[in-house]
């Protein structure tokens, strides 16, 4: 096989992190005195940009028209388990999202993270390795290893650089996810014992007994529902988001949540088709509850980050609706919605981060009238708020529309509930926007607030461009994901 580019892409950030840690350890011996040293940030940036370039190489080498996994590489690990990587249309897009957002998250951290920069950069780079690994794995155990391992750097990121209540938030985040995932691990072991291998490509062809499928599906769902997160196991998300530093929230919302949706498409549908059909009404019910409930809760929030976190829960409801509509258009919409939400939620957390860095509060009531002081900021905020609502012309619109069309074909009332969610999303986003940006300046501290700076523009403009380009030319994504969508639906009879 020779040079394996997927492994290189996966482990490049980790190699960078180790290098940075080593250099730091050898030159200073102790970390902690490097308070203002942004050179480490730039070093981390170099590695994450390099990873992005590698992922672009993979992307352009990827044959969009071919079906099945590409760039497959395999090394036996032990027994029937192998270190096996490979990508299809859905995974390459999520990998691109990851490698695209990690440099942005690091740029956003320059200046706002003021202590223990070495560890910060290392944690982000190691996290990036695990995220890419999740989307590349073609072996269940390897997938699980990456899926879980990512918890540790995120735990440290929230723990060390988080807000006042970080202990509660990071433990809740970790233990919730672990609890769901261990059920998945038990199911993985069961499947491994039944099939003699944990190779995903083999397991996709194994026909499990429908009764067994039900249990396996539930075990996987326990993990993905927590990760996504779905109502009623979503409560860790607002806590984690509020306490996490801005860049942590960006990665959490944009990439980590997508692992849940990715898992459902990669495992639940192709491996347990009977159980998926059986549970369709159940998933629809909790998705609609999630959309409506989370939107209403978002409306009443006084903390900007919490509001966006609840809005993420609602938007992930669209993803599950689309996936479990079992229609091509619905699943395509769900994948699209994941990518689009990755860009929009990342941007919204950055938007909050911009004013938080200046004012050190996320209370909505502390703001108002920002348009007078920060017109460029206000316009960018407007763009992303509208994209989050699902305004035509932005990527948010396409995702919501397609998932609803798909859902409509499967269940009218579920689509009606989702439509209600679209209206509610306008309610809470516009309320937020009006209270933060318009109106008179009531808080005297806002008088001296500075307009958005170049660094912040560098992080936001690519996201804005992505949101608009994808909104106008959605086929960019659909052509790539069609193969994996059809693959995910292939075993659902009548899908």
């Amino acid at each position: 096989m020779g040079f394996s580019i997927l492994s290189a892409m996966t482990f490049l950030p980790m190699a960078g992190a180790i290098l940075i840690l080593l250099v730091q350890a050898l030159t200073k011996g102790q970390t902690g005195e490097d308070a203002q040293d942004n050179r480490i940030m730039y070093a981390g940036l170099v590695f994450s940009v390099a990873t992005f370039l590698v992922s672009l190489v993979v992307f352009f080498g990827f044959d969009h028209s071919a079906l099945g996994y590409q760039f497959v590489e395999e090394v036996p690990w032990y027994a029937g388990i192998q270190y096996k990587l490979g990508i299809d249309g859905m995974s390459i897009l999520l990998i691109l999202l990851t490698t695209f957002l990690t440099p942005i998250a690091l740029i956003a951290s320059i200046g706002s993270i003021k202590h223990r920069i070495t560890e910060y950069v290392a944690a982000f780079l190691i996290l990036e390795t695990f995220m890419i690994g999740v989307f590349c794995s073609l072996d269940l155990v390897v997938f699980y290893v990456f899926f879980e391992a990512g918890l540790i750097p995120m735990f440290i990121i929230i723990g060390v650089w988080g807000g006042a209540d970080k202990f509660y938030a990071s433990f809740k985040f970790f233990l919730y996810t672990l609890f769901g995932s261990l059920f998945m691990l038990a199911a993985v072991v069961y499947m491994y014992l039944a099939a003699g291998t944990s190779d995903i490509m083999v397991l996709e062809t194994v026909q499990f007994d429908p009764g067994v499928q039900t249990w396996l599906w539930l075990a996987f769902f326990a993990s993905f529902a927590v990760k996504l997160p779905m109502w009623p196991v979503h409560t860790w998300l607002p806590d984690a988001h509020v306490q996490a530093p801005t860049a942590g929230s960006v990665i959490l919302a944009a990439v980590l949540l997508k692992m849940g949706g990715y898992g459902m498409l990669r495992f639940s549908l192709p491996m347990f088709p009977d159980a998926s059909l059986l549970f369709q009404p159940f998933v629809f019910t909790i998705s609609v509850i999630a959309i409506v409930y989370a939107s209403l809760v978002a409306w009443r929030q006084t903390d900007m980050k919490k509001l966006i976190a609840y809005s993420s829960v609602a938007h992930m409801g669209f993803v599950t609706l689309g996936i479990f509509s079992f229609t091509e258009i619905g699943v395509q919409g769900a994948v699209y919605q994941m990518i689009s939400h990755g860009l929009i939620s990342a941007a919204l957390f950055l938007i909050v981060g911009v004013v938080y860095d200046r004012m050190h509060t996320r209370e909505i009531s502390a703001y108002g009238g920002l348009v007078k002081k920060m017109p460029i900021y206000a316009s960018l905020f407007m763009l992303f708020a509208m994209a989050n609502v699902g305004l035509p012309g932005t990527s948010g619109f396409v995702g919501e529309l397609l998932t609803m069309v798909g859902t409509f074909q499967a269940s009218t009332w579920a689509a009606a509930g989702a439509a209600l969610g679209v209206i509610l999303s306008a309610v809470y986003m516009l309320t937020l926007y009006r209270r933060v940006v318009f109106g008179p300046i009531t808080n005297p501290a806002l008088e001296g607030i500075k307009e958005i700076n170049t660094k912040e523009l560098i992080t936001l403009v690519p996201l804005a461009a992505g949101t608009i380009i994808l909104g106008i030319m959605p086929n960019l994504i659909f052509d790539i994901t069609r193969g994996s969508t059809l693959h995910a639906l292939a075993r659902l009879a009548g899908g």
């Binding site: 032990y78 433990f171 970790f174």
Partner: protein
């Protein structure tokens, strides 16, 4: 008929330990205090050599008219146990020197305890088993109270002795019942005997005694107290070498002396209940601990519970998992106790977990290694402990022990909390002052075991195959 070759094949490491130990007594008697310093390294060398001999005579054989039967399953455990014993001895050297208790008797006790482990691992007869158990236990009682001037150490030794003697009594009573109802003390003859009620009764009593030795609930109460009271290097020894040996012996007895279908069904349920109780007691008990040694004591109870799930799965399914899980556990444990031994300030040992505050900024290497070891002992991915736990899960599923699998999941999540809390304290809290430097042996043990935990995770295949083939040797 005395067949020297067979004896050497079956018993070489133990012969070495026995002769070295006896020679040590003589040398000590002649040279007295001049032997103190050198004895530790010599002892470690002997233990390493014994581990090497276990590898050389991997397949073992029978000797002494069937009183001894070494198989690959035992050799695997011997190799790990002796290596841990050697590391514990090396780590003890500096510690005892500072506490002015560096005496050659310590070395000899560790060697005799290791000899006891070798005897019980190779035993294929209840008499041999009991002799080995006593040799191991008596040496351990003395080791626990080695700091005889410290009330805590004396208390730990006394507690250990009283409870341990009780457990030995129960074990012996069980053995006598088993002998009475089967007419023999040999494992093979017992396996062939009619599994009547009397035999089952004896078996249950034996399980009770053995559960004490591996510190499984509800026979676990001595563990936190002894861990807290005994000198730290002694605990590093207790937590690793005898644990590995006792657990493997537990499995061997169940697999080879009671393999009948009726007996198997009975002990599977009993051990299943013990496993469940240990997992829960270990997980909940550790939550409120602030003393790192007590915390690790409860953690070991929980981990013994996981290992017992693999024991309960039976020889064919769980044998390899017992070896893999226990190996992963002791590798991580010896490193963690190296960490405990590194917690030294102003000449004294500190044991409160808050003393680890901000360690990552003071001693990043040590904190990193300890983090890896905690991840490993928690059975979380990226370290060998994960593969151990995966094997146990696999064994549990395969044997259809669904309730145990579910309890394992719950207790793993709960246990993760206190491992995470330690990671939190090291990474997030504000640093306190540095620990005083420790000897190279301690820090190299910490780094080595962290490295081994990662290395065996990545390159797991050879060890897994070895464990698999070793487990084949105890199949009925």
């Amino acid at each position: 008929m005395f067949d020297l070759e067979a004896v050497i094949a079956a018993f070489a490491p133990e012969l070495l330990l026995a002769s070295a130990g006896l020679l040590g007594v003589l040398v000590g008697a002649v040279f007295k205090d001049r032997f103190n310093t050198i004895s530790f390294r010599l002892g470690a060398l002997v233990l390493i050599a014994a581990a090497g001999l276990s590898i050389v005579y991997w397949q073992g054989g029978r000797a002494f008219d069937g009183l001894i039967h070494t198989h690959a399953f035992a050799s695997f455990a011997k190799t790990v146990s002796y290596t841990c014993g050697a590391l514990a001895l090396l780590m003890a050297e500096g510690f005892l020197k500072r506490h002015e208790t560096q005496r050659y008797e310590f070395t000899l006790l560790v060697i005799f305890a290791s000899l006891g482990m070798g005897v019980i691992l190779s035993a294929s007869d209840m008499m041999t088993l009991y002799l080995g158990v006593e040799m191991l236990s008596l040496s351990s009682y003395v080791l626990a109270s080695f700091h005889r001037d410290s009330p805590r150490s004396a208390e730990a030794g006394l507690k250990y002795f009283v409870l341990g003697a009780l457990a030995s009594g129960i074990l012996l009573y069980g053995i006598s019942l088993v002998y009475g109802f089967s007419g023999s003390t040999s494992y093979e003859a017992i396996a062939a005997a009619d599994p009547g009620l009397g035999l089952m009764f004896g078996m249950v009593l034996m399980i009770t005694g053995l559960a004490f030795k591996v510190s499984a609930a509800p026979m676990h109460v001595w563990t936190p107290d002894v861990y807290e009271g005994a000198p730290s290097p002694v605990v590093a020894f207790f937590a690793t070498a005898p644990k590995m040996a006792s657990m493997v012996v537990f499995a061997t007895i169940m697999y080879t002396a009671f393999p009948q279908v009726v007996a198997f069904e009975n002990w599977q349920m009993i051990i299943g209940i013990i496993a469940a109780a240990s997992m829960l007691v270990g997980a909940f008990g550790a939550l409120i601990q602030t003393n790192i040694k007590r915390l690790l004591g409860y953690s070991s109870i929980a981990n013994m519970g996981y290992a017992l799930v693999a024991v309960a799965a039976g020889a064919a399914i769980g044998g390899a998992a017992v070896l893999v899980f226990m190996t992963a556990y002791v590798i991580a444990s010896i490193g963690l106790f190296g960490g405990v031994l590194s917690m030294r300030r102003e000449g004294g040992m500190v044991e409160n977990i808050d003393e680890l505050s901000g360690l990552i900024r003071r001693q990043p290497g040590l904190a990193f290694a300890l983090t890896i070891l905690l991840i490993s002992v928690a059975g979380f991915p990226l370290a060998f402990g994960f593969i151990g736990k995966l094997s146990v899960l696999e064994a549990g599923w395969n044997a259809g022990l669904v309730p145990l699998v579910i309890i394992l999941i719950f207790s793993s999540v709960i246990a993760m909390y206190y491992y995470l809390r330690l990671i939190w304290i090291m990474w997030v809290n504000e640093p306190v002052e540095d620990f005083e430097p420790v000897e190279g042996w301690v820090s190299s043990t910490v780094y080595l075991s962290a490295l081994a935990s990662i290395g065996l995770f990545v390159f797991a295949a050879p060890l897994m195959q070895l464990a698999q083939s070793a487990a084949g040797s105890v199949l009925p």
